[in-house]
Symmetry: C2
Subunit: 302 residues, 2 copies
C-alpha cells in the first residue's frame, strides 16, 4: 500500500543508484542528480527524471535522499552556492544517508532546521549487495515524527531503525564500523593461529561458522581472506577513515576503547604497507606480514 511520493536522490553512485532504483520500483516519482551525469543516465530508463543541478532535482520534492561521498561534499551540495537545501520547500524532509561524521550530522541538522526543513541522518550498512536487494540496515537519527514520516521511503531501501535524536544515526554507523573493523582483526588473528598451528584454516572457519564464533565477517570476509579476494567492497582506506572518526568521537566523550585503538593502528599499518585500495578484509595480509607469513604480491611492499 505504497503512498507514492515525489522524491529526489542526490548522488547516484555505487550505492545511490540501486537505492534510487528501489524507490522507483516501490512506486515513487523520483528525480535524480549526480555530478557525473553519465552515472545517473541509466536511471532514466527506470523512470527517473534527470536534473541538471541539485536545486532543480529537489524543487517541489517532499523528500530528498542524499547519498554523496562524504560530509564535506554533502555540505557543499546542500548549503554551497546554488545549494539544494535553499531550493527545498519548508517542511520537506532531508534524509542524509551518506556516511558522515556525528558532528557533521548535527551541524547539517541545525542548518536544515533553520531553513524549516525536517532532518534525518540515516546511514546504512550492507554494501552494494544490500543496496541492490533493498536489505540495507538503515540507522536513523532525528525526530520520531520525521522518522515515521520517512518510514515508507526508507523501507523501500532496507530495514530502518530509529536510533535517537539527530546525529545518532551517524553515531550508530561509527559503532557499526568499529564493530566490523574489530571483528575483521579478530578473524584475521584466528585464521593466522589456525594455519600456524598446522590446521587447515578453511576447515577451522567452516567449523567456527556453526558455533558462537559465527559472524557475517567470518563468513564473507573470512572467505575473502582464504581465497585472497581483496577486490573492494569496502576499501581499507575508508575503513581507516571510519576507525579514525570513531576514535575521535571516543576521545571527545572521554572514552578508553582499547580494541578500537589497536584495530585503528592495524588498519593504518595496512594502508601504509600499500593496502589502501584493497578490501578491508586485507587486514588479514597485515596480520600475516606482522607474523612473517607469506603474503604474495597483494601489497606494494610485499
Amino acid at each position: 500500500m505504497t503512498q507514492p511520493q515525489r522524491v529526489a536522490v542526490l548522488g547516484t553512485g555505487i550505492m545511490g543508484k540501486p537505492m534510487a532504483t528501489n524507490l522507483i520500483r516501490a512506486g515513487h516519482d523520483v528525480s535524480v542528480w549526480n555530478r557525473d551525469r553519465a552515472k545517473a543516465q541509466p536511471l532514466a530508463a527506470e523512470g527517473a527524471s534527470l536534473a541538471d543541478s541539485p536545486a532543480q532535482a529537489v524543487e517541489g520534492r517532499a523528500a530528498v535522499v542524499v547519498m554523496l561521498s562524504s560530509g564535506p561534499v554533502c555540505d557543499e551540495v546542500l548549503f554551497g552556492p546554488g545549494g539544494a537545501a535553499h531550493a527545498m520547500a519548508p517542511g520537506a524532509l532531508l534524509i542524509v544517508m551518506a556516511s558522515i561524521g556525528r558532528s557533521e550530522a548535527t551541524g547539517l541538522a541545525k542548518r536544515s532546521e533553520a531553513l524549516g526543513l525536517r532532518w534525518l541522518d540515516a546511514p546504512v550498512s550492507g554494501g552494494e549487495k544490500g543496496a541492490r536487494e533493498a536489505s540495507l540496515s538503515i540507522m536513523a537519527g532525528g525526530k520520531a515524527d520525521d522518522f515515521t514520516a520517512a518510514l515508507e521511503l526508507l523501507a523501500a531501501m532496507g530495514h530502518p531503525v530509529h536510533i535517537g535524536p539527530a546525529g545518532s544515526g551517524a553515531l550508530a554507523k561509527l559503532v557499526n564500523q568499529l564493530t566490523v573493523a574489530s571483528t575483521i582483526a579478530a578473524v584475521s588473528e584466528a585464521l593466522v593461529l589456525a594455519e600456524a598451528g598446522g590446521a587447515d584454516p578453511a576447515r577451522v572457519r567452516e567449523a567456527l561458522l556453526g558455533g558462537f564464533a559465527y559472524s557475517r565477517i567470518l563468513e564473507q570476509h573470512g572467505e575473502r581472506m582464504l581465497t585472497r579476494n581483496f577486490a573492494p567492497g569496502g576499501p581499507a582506506k575508508h575503513q581507516l577513515k571510519d576507525t579514525r572518526a570513531a576514535r575521535e568521537v571516543a576521545t571527545e566523550l572521554g572514552l578508553d576503547l582499547p580494541l578500537l585503538a589497536l584495530t585503528d593502528g592495524l588498519f593504518a599499518d595496512l594502508v601504509e604497507a600499500g593496502g589502501a585500495d584493497l578490501d578491508h578484509s586485507a587486514l588479514y595480509l597485515e596480520m600475516r606480514r606482522r607474523n612473517r607469513l607469506p603474503i604474495g604480491d597483494h601489497l606494494d611492499g610485499g
Copy 2:
C-alpha cells in the same frame, strides 16, 4: 539409517548429559559413568546403563565419548589407576570431546595409540543449548579414517568437521575461543560508545544485527549485556583459561596476536574485579568500569 553401536559416555554434566541423551535417541546402546552418580541417574530412564567405574563403562564398547571438565581430569580418568583406556579393546575409538589443550590432546593421542586405540580430539562449541538440540559445532582432530568411523556418532550430537591431525580439534577450539573472546570485547566497546554518545544501545544493537556487524555474540551476548543477564553460560574464568591457553600456543608458535593479548588482559581484569563466575558477556561490565560508567552490583568491587 543408524547403525546401532555400543558406546560409553564418561562425564554426564551440563554438556555430557544431553549429548548422551542424543546418542541414545539415535538408537545407540549407551553406558554412562559420572563421578557424582546422581548426575548420571536421570539417563537410566532414557535407557542408559549406569556404570560404577570408568573401566566398567567402557568394557566392550566400540567407542568412548569423554566429556570431563579438563585435560588433567581426562588424563586421570583415562590413564590413572583403574583408568578407562586400559579397559578398552584395541581398535576401539576414543573420542575426547572435552575442551583440552593442544599439547594435552597430542599427549593423550600418543598414549592412546600406544595401547592400540584409535583417537579423536573433538571439542565442541554451541553450549548447553547446542548440546540439547544436537546442533553443536564439533571440531575433530585425528586420522581421516577414524573421523569417518565416528561420523555417525558425532552427527547424532551436532555438525562434525574434520580439521586435521590429532591435536587440531583442540587447536580449532582455541581458535574458536579466541574469536568469541575478541568479539565479546568488540561488542562491549560498541555498546559503550553507543550509550556514551547518547544513543539507545538496544536500538543500535538492533540496527547492527541487520548488517555486516552481525555476529552471534552481538545477538546473544549483546542481549545479555543490555539486560544485565550474567548468569553463566560460559563463566568468565573459563574464558580467561581459554584466552590464556591460546596465548601460550601463540607464543609457542612465535606469533604476535595483539587482539588476543589485549582481550586476555581484559578478561583477567574482569576476573580480578570479582567477575570470575559471571557469564563471559560480563566483559561489558569491565569495559564500563574502565570507562567509569555505572555497573550496578554485579562485581564485588562495584
